[in-house]
């Protein structure tokens, strides 16, 4: 089950991830982070497909994406170190 994790205090509230998500499941929190920005948060985690488009568009390295090993072979984007 893929999921993303938004680093709340790195987020600058730019909303580019909201725009990029094809599932439309990223929104902005009503709370502010330590810098005063409304940070991004996932509104419907069950529908995340691990496409990583949110992480690709994030300018602040605030999003980490987790998924199963099968999924990353479908997207030749992130090439982790071979063991």
């Amino acid at each position: 089950m893929p999921s993303i994790h938004v680093d709340r205090d790195r987020c600058k509230g730019c909303e580019l991830c909201n725009d990029a998500c094809p599932q439309g499941i990223i929104g902005m929190s009503k709370q502010i982070n330590v810098k005063g920005y409304f940070y991004a948060e996932v509104t419907d985690p069950g529908r995340c497909i691990g496409c990583m488009l949110c992480a690709v568009m994030c300018p602040d390295l605030a999003i980490a994406v987790h998924g199963t090993a099968v999924q990353y072979r479908l997207y030749d984007y992130f090439q982790p170190q071979q063991p």
Partner: protein, 264 residues
């Protein structure tokens, strides 16, 4: 569960000073990922410009030099000639490369220096507060063109990829963009190829990346992506302008599309 996406190792953990939604952050990461994937971090030297990305060295764990405004290609030339084993790259904005530094970039390209230049084109001067850039669009309102850029007074925007690709010396010249995730991934592939060509000691490599400046364009980050798409893309076509593997093309001004299936 595996981590599918995380911070590249060549990048530091520091939170950037860039404005919210500034695509410098995206482009920094693309460069960092390329450096990581090619395993060249411990012999890379970056050359920082003057502009919004003057502090770029704070966001990487590699050696950096800080150049005077516009002179980064000259520093890169000196560093690469003195130490050809290092991977030397410059990262420059519109003012640095297309205004004060046009002479340096043209001659570095013409001499075929084996360096990589990442040119961030956001059609405005960010750091100094939103003045007109040589790459600003006609009609674009900036602090030094308050009634919109008038081509009769200021000329038309400069297309650096097209200009540099008229030089006879072989080079890899490509224009990409980061306003959609798909194009960001393609731009990363272009940046990666540019570094690979440097590793093979082939030619001068130049990657222009269209990007946004929400603060000085006066719009939200997501609106800026649309503005780029509607206003900059028609004038700055994406694609490969020059590739050392291609034969000399008679119509050198027309870029190769990303994939042949994109060709009309």
């Amino acid at each position: 569960m595996t981590t599918l996406f995380a911070r590249p190792e060549s990048m530091s953990e520091r939170i950037t000073h860039y404005c919210p939604g500034c695509t410098h952050g995206v482009i920094h990461r693309l460069v960092g990922e390329a450096i990581d994937e090619l395993g060249i971090a411990d012999r890379s030297v970056g050359i920082a410009p003057v502009g919004c990305s003057v502090l770029i060295y704070n966001y990487y764990n590699i050696d950096f030099q800080e150049a005077p405004h516009g002179r980064a290609p000259a520093l890169a030339t000196g560093a690469k000639r003195a130490r050809p084993d290092l991977i030397v790259f410059t990262y420059q904005g519109d003012g640095d490369l297309a205004s004060i530094g046009t002479n340096e970039i043209i001659h570095a390209a013409n001499r075929g220096e084996k360096i990589t230049t990442v040119f961030v084109n956001n059609a405005i001067y960010g750091m100094t507060g939103g003045q007109m850039a040589p790459t600003s669009m006609p009609g674009q309102v900036t602090t030094t063109s308050p009634r919109g850029r008038d081509p009769a007074l200021a000329g038309f925007p400069m297309r650096m990829c097209e200009m540099l690709s008229t030089l006879r010396t072989p080079a890899y010249i490509v224009r990409g963009s980061v306003h959609t995730p798909q194009l960001a991934v393609q731009t990363k592939q272009a940046i990666r190829r540019a570094f690979e060509l440097q590793m093979e000691k082939r030619c001068f490599t130049f990657v222009e990346v269209l990007s946004t400046c929400p603060t000085n364009w006066g719009m939200t980050p997501t609106k800026s992506l649309r503005w780029l798409q509607d206003n900059m893309l028609p004038y700055y076509p994406l694609g490969v302008f020059k590739d050392p593997d291609q034969q000399e093309r008679g119509d050198g001004q027309v870029p190769t599309p990303w994939r042949d299936s994109d060709a009309k």
